[in-house]
Point group: C2
């Protein structure tokens, strides 16, 4: 039995003996770029059915078929954690999405704050980054990247029973703050490069579901803050414990 | 008094009334790019004397002078923590150095492991990244980036009383492991993209000063692992507590 080294995300249902048609891009990647052929093994996941070992049954230039052989990992969903962040420069925004997927966020929400510069995001491109990160990190789940949302509106329509950790000025004991708050549905909010506005800060501090935490004495860039905040949360309440 | 928004790292000693000559590059940046002129204020730090407010006394195209007026922040050194990592692709290596500086590492050591691909690093360029990160994160300390060292040699000549946290397969309770080990001098070792070799893993596990910790159930890329490991350490033993 050949060892499968390539992991691919597909949308098709996965199960014993299931046939998986490949898209043109996937066929090009598998057979053109990665030089796989009939009989070679690939690992598949679709975000719902765990990870499966599949074999190439047909390999064409623009199409192909895989057949599912055996489940290699059961489906494992991350904790119910959202990451809200204000989009920054393109490369760093890509990075935040990639890191959020690796660190086990369930949903990624770009938000527009008072000091956010970016007015638009490419949702499809960010979603593709999340898929690629899931392919590489061995996960069986792909977080959804939502469209850009106004922080103001988001807070007004905040879902019941979801806690919000927001990263702001220095405060003691992030882990203890989170554990004291408890709860199973959370969101992390990372401020924009220019910081929150006075209005936003006042509003956030008054919200019963919002918990400010410190990320140390140095100023972190938004992309560093995203990874650090996810680490703090995963250690205190998530699946790293 | 004008507000200083620009932070510059200089090598010159800083103190009340001290005159600071600018290098050609610094003069070009301050006066050419940032459009500063005589009387404008700049924040300076040199990694030893804290942060100082200085005023532009002379502004030329290729030279200039600043005069130190008042200390704005005392010198604050990070905990005695080294970050050892196997260099990866250029952009991600740059990122690790930037993040290590932001997250408060005292020394950054690129290491060559059995599975490290990169044979060379540009030490001067990485050091410049650490300086730039320190300028942006509001820190008064710049971590030293050393030359590429062989992991094998480094472990053989390991400094007395320095603990080593290495990030490997899943193990429970990273924070508890670190707090139990205690000590004030630490190093974090991030493995290469291909993982440690069997020889390295066996050797690391047998070292009395080495403590394996888990970074969760997903596989993290080396650059994510660096930020996550620094977060775990800073929370357990560092200046985030």
């Amino acid at each position: 039995m050949k060892t499968a080294k390539i992991r691919l995300y597909v949308e098709h249902p996965l199960g014993q003996g299931q046939t998986i048609p490949l898209s043109r891009d996937q066929a090009h990647y598998l057979f053109g770029v990665m030089r796989q052929g009939v009989g070679d093994a690939v690992l598949l996941f679709n975000g719902r059915d765990g990870e499966w070992r599949a074999e190439v049954a047909e390999a064409g230039k623009r199409s192909g078929t895989l057949v599912c052989e055996a489940q290699t990992t059961p489906q494992r969903d991350p904790p119910d954690l959202w990451l809200l962040f204000a989009p920054i420069k393109k490369a760093r925004t890509d990075f935040i999405v990639e890191k959020a997927a690796e660190m086990g966020a369930a949903r990624i929400v770009p938000v527009q704050t008072d000091f956010t510069n970016s007015e638009r995001i490419r949702q499809d491109r960010l979603q593709a980054h999340a898929v690629e990160a899931a392919e590489q990190c061995g996960g069986t789940f792909v977080p959804e990247v939502t469209g850009l949302q106004k922080l103001d509106t988001l807070l007004t329509n905040w879902p019941e029973e979801r806690q919000l950790m927001f990263c702001d000025e220095a405060l003691a004991g992030a882990g203890a703050t989170l554990r004291a708050a408890g709860g199973e549905r959370w969101a992390i909010l990372i401020g924009p490069e220019g910081g929150f506005s006075e209005t936003e800060r006042t509003r956030l501090s008054a919200l019963p579901f919002a918990h400010p935490v410190s990320l140390g004495p140095r100023i972190l860039r938004a992309d560093t803050a995203a990874v650090a905040a996810l680490t703090v949360w995963q250690q205190a309440l998530g699946d790293w414990a």
